[in-house]
């Protein structure tokens, strides 16, 4: 700040300083800071090799296709097929819609529950807080294969625990083979995913809540703001940046999701494609499935579209939301 002002030719501060000292400041010669390059190089190289190059290659591949046995540049033809061909477009929009529902369920269920759990955990009088914290976070550490398998068994109409437990409560009539019904299957899979990942928003919010200084809370208490209104009026505004981060993590995670749907519902994301999301559509297209051979160009096209969607979402967040968010410093 100081230096900037000194460089300005006009302005009142300038006249007070001797011209020669300003000249001196400009002509200081700094040695080239090699250490920056050295320290950044490994990360930059690794990141370029495993992230940037494949990304560029994928984007490039989406403009190529096999024509008469040879790979050649086709411009936007692949995109035209994806959005123009009735069946490709139907599959794509179906996957995108399902993905949006998948995301919406996470935003409406996972994150509020995560925030609520964090708020409960940060209550100073809560006993066994460490136990709850660990227990709720544990599923996040499990492999999606295990989670998928466990829930398939729990919800199985034949051997499952769910129908039995519900019959104990006299609610057997409420049970249905959800994973096999085209309406509820997507909701069921989303909720399994919520169950697995609810620990992440909980932990982040919990950390944010802990970082609120005691003085602020005490000051609020002096002003007579306690309980729920304290949460809404004092704590929530302070953890908003953390909630923003969680939202964007959920968004990126959900639009890249594939694993859980694949383990629970298979690559065809049944029944009747009702749980097909962009990740499974990409997998089937790129690698092929059963008798269908993989189509790398169309796969790359779908991957590129996914990249654009995620990029758009993240940019929207960064430029439209994060900049307007009010931050407090203590």
């Amino acid at each position: 700040m100081l230096r900037q002002r000194k460089h300005k030719k006009t302005g009142k501060a300038m006249s007070d300083i001797h011209p020669s000292s300003a000249l001196q400041l400009v002509s200081i010669k700094r040695p080239f800071r090699w250490h920056i390059v050295v320290f950044m190089a490994p990360a930059l190289l690794v990141y370029t090799a495993i992230m940037i190059l494949p990304l560029i290659e994928t984007l490039r591949l989406s403009f190529y296709n096999t024509v008469d046995g040879a790979q050649s540049f086709v411009g936007f033809a692949n995109y035209q097929v994806l959005f123009g061909d009735v069946r490709w477009a139907r599959d794509f929009w179906n996957a995108l819609t399902n993905n949006l529902i998948f995301f919406a369920i996470h935003m409406c269920v996972q994150n509020p529950i995560g925030i609520a759990l964090a708020a409960l955990l940060s209550l100073p009088k809560l006993r066994f807080a460490a136990f709850y914290r660990t227990a709720i976070f544990l599923p996040t550490l499990l492999s999606f294969v295990i989670v998928g398998f466990i829930w398939k068994l729990i919800l199985s109409p034949i051997w499952g625990v769910a129908p039995w437990l519900m019959s104990l409560a006299g609610a057997k009539w409420l049970f249905a083979p959800w994973l096999g019904q085209s309406g509820p299957a997507l909701i069921a899979v989303s909720l399994i995913s919520v169950w697995q990942y609810v620990g992440i928003p909980m932990m982040l919010i919990y950390a944010a809540l802990l970082s609120i200084p005691e003085e602020v809370v005490e000051a609020a208490e002096c002003d007579g703001i306690t309980g729920w209104s304290q949460f809404w009026k004092i704590k929530l505004p302070l953890i908003l940046p953390a909630i923003g981060i969680i939202s964007i993590l959920t968004f990126v995670g959900n639009f890249n999701a594939f694993d859980l749907v694949y383990t629970v519902q298979g690559a065809l994301a049944g029944p009747d494609m009702s749980t097909d999301i962009l990740g499974t559509l990409l997998y089937r297209t790129f690698f092929g499935f059963q008798l269908q051979l993989g189509d790398r160009s169309m796969g790359a096209t779908i991957a590129a579209v996914m990249f654009v969607i995620i990029l758009a979402g993240v940019s929207f967040y960064l430029f439209a939301i994060q900049r307007r968010m009010r931050r407090y410093q203590f």
Partner: protein, 418 residues
């Protein structure tokens, strides 16, 4: 996935060089996805071959079934694949042949032991060149709980009418679930349902060829009727069949909770080892008594020769042996349910396997309708058939709507006669 591939590649190269260093014998490496068969190869097939062919050693190196196609393609492209390639039926192998990665075996002595239907799965579309020796096929039908049938005094159904009468009786009794089938895994409904009973309606090869030639459409009654039958199965399936997986169906049957299992012959070995009751099998029931029946006798495994093999002569010796009745007998008896495609009949010890294979005499065999040519494009007819078969049973789509969807999908890329 990539690292796994690399380990496989590394392991095979190390193994191959170790084998070459230890003996002056020629070692042939066999690529396969049948890791379930490792013991049978090691204990029975390899010793039998090596005893007769001194100087040739065999090394059976299987990959996990789901990884096989990807890893094989990578190895073939890199030139590090084994000498002998186990062939998937139809297009997957045809593509390898077109890429000149499989040797044309049309003139191999021993090929004459196979019928054209058996060879069709590994021949070019015009049938002129064959590139894999047919090894085994699987037959569709129904496996039933004999004790349950005796208990309820049900005779083995021969016609469609008897089939539903039997189902009604089992359902009325209530002890058993009439049909052990679920729609969760989709392919069960298509493979064990549609492809199982379908050939009786589209008259086997006749209908399948007409479909490929464009003379019939999936919306024709021959192709819609099987869906109508499948829709009728719904009330006979177990509670919550929509979420019942293939493994669930297998368990329901082997635990004795279900009476009939729409099956493929590959179940024989597992069922015989797990079920505590007597079992039998019957072919898909015909529409009217006395009518010609059709069965799906689907080629599943073949073996071919890698173009880049360094020992093509020895490899051909091995392939000729695979085409011989001797191999057929060892193989079919070690793996009941995988039937030799050899024209000379094979004696099998397993009674249920005998039952399945005996249908070949009275019934006309055909292969699964979606496998040849029709699943080459996008949308893929086989995958769509999985989805629609499940939809029809679940009641999501009516048979007519399902057929229309399939035909529309096929029309979008397949132009018959071109």
């Amino acid at each position: 996935m990539n690292s796994l591939l690399k380990t496989i590649l590394l392991a095979t190269t190390v193994l191959a060089s170790a084998g070459a260093a230890s003996a002056a014998d020629v070692t042939l490496n066999i690529e396969s996805w049948r890791n379930d068969d490792l013991a049978i190869w090691k204990e029975k097939l390899i010793p039998a071959f090596e005893a007769k062919n001194p100087g040739i050693k065999l090394n059976f190196s299987p990959t996990a079934p789901t990884e096989y196609n990807a890893s094989l393609n990578a190895k073939l492209d890199a030139g590090s694949a084994g000498d002998i390639i186990t062939c998937r039926p139809f297009d997957a192998s045809l593509e390898l042949f077109n890429k000149k990665q499989l040797v044309d075996l049309t003139s191999l002595s021993g090929m004459s032991n196979f019928s054209p239907v058996a060879k069709a799965a590994w021949s070019t579309d015009d049938g002129k060149s064959t590139f894999c020796v047919p090894m085994a096929s699987v037959i569709h039908g129904f496996i039933y709980n004999k004790d349950a049938f005796d208990q309820l005094k049900i005779a083995v159904p021969k016609t469609n009418e008897e089939f539903y009468a039997a189902l009604d009786k089992i359902k009325a009794d209530g002890t058993f679930i009439p049909l052990a089938m679920g729609t969760k895994d989709l392919w069960e409904a298509a493979t064990m349902g549609y492809q199982n009973i379908g050939p009786n309606y589209w008259k086997g090869e006749e209908g399948r060829k007409a479909l490929i030639e464009g003379k019939q459409k999936l919306t024709d009654p021959e192709w819609v009727k099987p869906y109508e039958e499948l829709a009728k199965w719904k009330p006979y399936l177990g509670d919550g069949f929509e979420a019942q997986t293939y493994a669930d169906s297998q368990n329901l049957f082997t635990l004795g909770r279900a009476a009939i299992f729409p099956a493929g012959s590959w179940e024989i070995a597992l069922f015989t080892s797990q079920a505590q009751f007597k079992m039998g099998a019957f072919p898909p029931p015909v529409l009217k008594a006395g009518e010609t029946g059709y069965i799906s006798d689907h080629p599943d495994i073949g073996v071919g020769l890698n173009t880049k093999s360094k020992h093509p002569e020895e490899a051909k010796k091995f392939l000729t042996w695979v085409a011989s009745p001797e191999f057929a007998e060892i193989y079919a008896n070690s793996l009941p349910g995988f039937f030799s495609l050899n024209s000379s009949p094979v004696k099998m010890a397993d009674p249920m396997a005998q039952e399945f294979v005996s249908w070949r005499e009275k019934y006309k065999p055909t292969v699964r309708s979606t496998y040849q040519i029709l699943s080459r494009g996008t949308p893929n007819l086989e995958n769509e058939t999985w989805v629609e078969s499940a939809n029809v049973i679940n009641g999501t789509d009516t048979p007519a709507v399902a057929a229309e969807k399939l035909q529309k999908g096929l029309d979008s890329w397949y132009k018959p006669g071109k």
